[in-house]
């Protein structure tokens, strides 16, 4: 069979078809290239934006609220992540069942829960800041529509210690009281915003050179408070308030050299971990919010002003009218009738009549100027919310009785902090300064970043005047003074007692059965390390400042001073018989950081060992090292000894033992 000729196919129709196909193919490719050009060049920004929107995201990681430390770096306020429970109404299949399973875990009524879960809203808070156990129990339910998210919860590890000073935060982490409120903007911190990629499931995708952000703290705060001193103050204050069944009490401790507040105790106590509305009456920091009449403690400032102005001399004597003194239509009384008293005795014995005469002699204007110089009638400027200015009426409106009464601390209102800062000015030689509660801003590791400094101080009295007043205040805590119970053994204290009547708001007169007991002072008198004010409101059973507040001052000082490295002198009469002297260190300094060379017994003083229950032989062996003479009666085992075990030994001690075989 003949094969057809290939050339016969290359006819016109063939070439037309080829040409057509070429045109179509080329046109198609031109279209494709053109479209590609349009998409990738002309619309490039649009598609770039869309791809970024799909693949990139900004992740917002909130920072922890800054921690609060005491002056020694102890943690006092701290935030931790805590799960909060919410529901998506769209995915809750069976609200009734979910509510009945959830109610016993979170401790809420079933009906209320069911109503919330039945809502169609996409986001419903169920309970915020669950405990760890609650969060685990909720997640184990695996109930559809219920989810947890992390929020930050504030904890105060020292519980009620400095509760009113620290304050607390709300559910959203905003400071509402105390330091938390005053330094809210500093502690709140800034959120971390970081760019990240997202995978197909829209989860964050972190690459090696772009690790995921870790929530951290921005800035923390180190306070001037000392947690231990705060604790001691609160404990002793509570004991005193409980003993006298008082209504309330405050203690403020300040370092007179730096004006740093070391403690601010309030009673009743307040635990900011439980800051519900039912505890609202406990929130306020009474040391700055509540003012009271300072009573006889104000005589210190009156006498200081009069000495500074030269209106009186320490050698002068004032006649105290044997206990009754008439000013206008009012009678001023002394607790005890006095005749002639020297100026130091006016402070020591706290004569109201003498104080009135000094005030009347000084004059309203000069006296009012000194009152303001000492910081009364104005806020101290401490950076805490709610500070009261106290009450000092304009001197132009003072009648003679007002001037006289102000001399012994009535008709004037002060806060515990104002009183303490004024005494601090006397303690440090006459310089008044602004109190500091915040010491430093610290970073997330607790390292200082910025220091707080108070405003400029001002000199209000001369140093020699302050020294004269110091001597007078020291006599108050010595034999015969009204504050003899205030000085701890081994220390010299300078202070002033006060017992002020309380105004009854209903009658507008002073109540006959309500008093404020006050003791304010500094210790040691010669080199003050602490200035402390103790205020007890409405005690029962005893009312005088020296009896109610003085012992609290002593108890706190006895614990605080050794803690600060200030030890009692060895010459004080109540030294332990077991007192032992050690060799001094090279430079003669002592304190917690010094190691003594050796310890020697100065004498053979010690205590009698307890030998009851021992046989005669063992008892004699035990007593032998003490070199004491021993006498015994009976046989068997020691049933009684005289002196008893623990009694301090004397060189002539004779130990008598009574033995009995039946023991």
């Amino acid at each position: 069979m003949d094969k057809p000729n290939a050339g016969s196919f290359q006819n016109t129709r063939y070439w037309i078809c080829c040409a057509f196909l070429r045109i179509v193919v080329v046109a198609a490719f031109i279209l494709i290239i053109g479209k590609a050009f349009y998409l990738q060049v002309v619309e490039h920004p649009v598609w770039l934006e869309r791809s970024r929107a799909q693949a990139e995201a900004k992740l917002n990681v909130p920072s922890y609220r800054g921690s609060i430390y005491d002056n020694r770096g102890r943690l006092m306020a701290f935030s931790v992540p805590q799960a909060s429970l919410f529901a998506d109404g769209k995915y809750v299949k069976d609200p009734k069942r979910a509510a009945s399973r959830l109610a016993p875990i979170i401790g809420e009524p079933v009906d209320g829960l069911e109503e919330r879960l039945a809502s169609e809203r996409r986001f419903i808070w169920i309970k915020r800041q669950l405990t760890d156990q609650q969060a685990m129990a909720v997640e184990s339910l695996k109930e559809s529509g219920l989810y947890t998210t992390n929020e930050y919860r504030r904890f105060y590890p020292f519980r009620q210690v400095a509760g009113q000073v620290l304050g607390f935060v709300g559910l959203d982490g905003k400071g509402l009281e105390g330091v938390e409120k005053a330094y809210d903007s500093l502690l709140a911190g800034k959120d971390i915003v970081k760019d990240c990629l997202r995978d197909g499931l829209r989860r964050g995708l972190w690459l090696r050179n772009s690790p995921p952000p870790e929530p951290g703290e921005d800035s923390g705060l180190r306070l001037t408070l000392d947690a231990y001193l705060q604790y001691v103050s609160e404990t002793e204050l509570e004991k005193g308030v409980t003993k006298y069944n008082a209504k309330a009490g405050e203690v403020v401790i300040v370092d007179p050299r730096t004006f740093e507040i070391l403690a601010m105790a309030n009673w009743p106590l307040f635990d900011p971990n439980h800051s519900g509305k039912k505890n609202a009456h406990l929130w306020r920091n009474r040391t700055i919010t509540d003012s009271f009449e300072p009573g006889s403690t104000f005589k210190v400032f009156l006498v200081t002003a009069a000495l500074e102005e030269g209106a009186i001399k320490t050698s002068e004597r004032i006649f105290c009218e044997n206990g009754k003194f008439r000013v206008a239509s009012h009678t001023i009384n002394d607790v005890h009738p006095y005749g002639w008293l020297t100026i130091p005795e006016v402070i020591k014995f706290s004569s109201n009549i003498a104080a009135s005469k000094i005030a009347l002699g000084l004059g309203s204007e000069k006296y009012a100027n000194y009152i303001h110089s000492f910081g009364f009638g104005v806020a101290t400027g401490i950076s805490l919310p709610g500070e009261a200015k106290g009450l000092v009426r304009p001197w132009e409106k003072w009648r003679p009785m007002d001037l006289a009464a102000t001399g012994f601390g009535q008709a004037i209102g002060v806060t515990a902090l104002q009183l303490t800062m004024a005494v601090a000015a006397i303690a440090n030689g006459g310089v008044y300064g602004q109190p500091l509660i915040a010491k430093q801003v610290v970073d997330s590791e607790g390292e200082p970043v910025r220091q707080f400094t108070g405003t400029a101080t001002r000199r209000i009295i001369q140093k020699k005047t302050a020294e004269k007043i110091r001597d007078m205040m020291q006599s108050v805590t010595e034999e015969g003074g009204t504050g003899i119970q205030a000085a701890p053994p081994g220390y010299s204290a300078a202070g002033k007692t006060g017992t002020a009547q309380v105004l009854d708001p209903e009658t507008g007169r002073y109540a006959t059965n309500k008093f404020t007991s006050i003791f304010t002072g500094y210790i040691p008198a010669s080199d003050p390390r602490l200035v402390m004010t103790v205020v007890i409101h409405e005690p029962h059973g005893a009312i005088y400042g020296g009896v109610v507040a003085g012992p609290i001052f002593r108890s706190i000082a006895a614990k605080a001073l050794p803690y600060l490295g200030v030890f009692p002198s060895s010459e004080h009469p109540e030294s332990s018989p077991g007192l032992r002297l050690v060799s001094r260190t090279n430079d003669g300094e002592s304190g917690p950081s010094r190691i003594p060379h050796s310890v020697d017994r100065v004498d053979q003083s010690g205590v009698v060992p307890d030998v009851t229950g021992l046989s005669l032989k063992l008892a004699l062996l035990k007593l032998a090292p003490f070199g004491v003479r021993t006498e015994f009666t009976g046989s068997g085992k020691v049933i009684m000894q005289q002196p008893s075990g623990g009694t301090p030994l004397r060189p002539d001690t004779v130990v008598e033992l009574v033995l009995n075989e039946n023991n």
Binding site: F78, V80, F155, P157, V161, A227, T235, S570, S576, P648
Partner: protein, 113 residues
């Protein structure tokens, strides 16, 4: 026609040679195609495997990151617990109730200078 037939008719040897060249080239193409196909399948398999690994690694990484975040949260809570254990009131209560300790009396204190 006969000339064309004559011209176009190759010799029997040439015909035989051309016939064996065509089957050989066909086989080569088949072999190359087969090899390409196998390579394609291998690469496709590798690609899928890599994709799966990537996804699984992504899950593992997300799991590790989640675990890391949880451990950081636990660390923070432990720090809080440690601070709570140094609360002075808690320490005093512990000393008093568990160890029977009490504050020393005045005569029990020895002053060392």
């Amino acid at each position: 026609m006969q000339e064309q037939t004559t011209k176009q008719s190759p010799t029997p040897d040439a015909d035989h040679l051309q016939g064996s060249r065509r089957p050989r080239s066909m086989r080569s193409w088949l072999v190359y195609s087969g090899m390409l196909g196998v390579l394609f399948i291998l690469f496709a398999t590798l690609n899928v495997w890599l994709h799966i690994q990537y996804i699984q690694d992504g899950y593992r990484l997300a799991g590790l990151q989640s675990e890391h975040e949880q451990l950081l949260a636990v660390q923070r809570k432990l720090r809080l617990e440690w601070s709570q254990l140094s609360d002075p009131s808690y320490l005093e209560k512990l000393g008093r109730e568990k160890f029977g300790l009490a504050a020393p009396r005045r005569d029990q204190k020895v002053l060392i200078r």
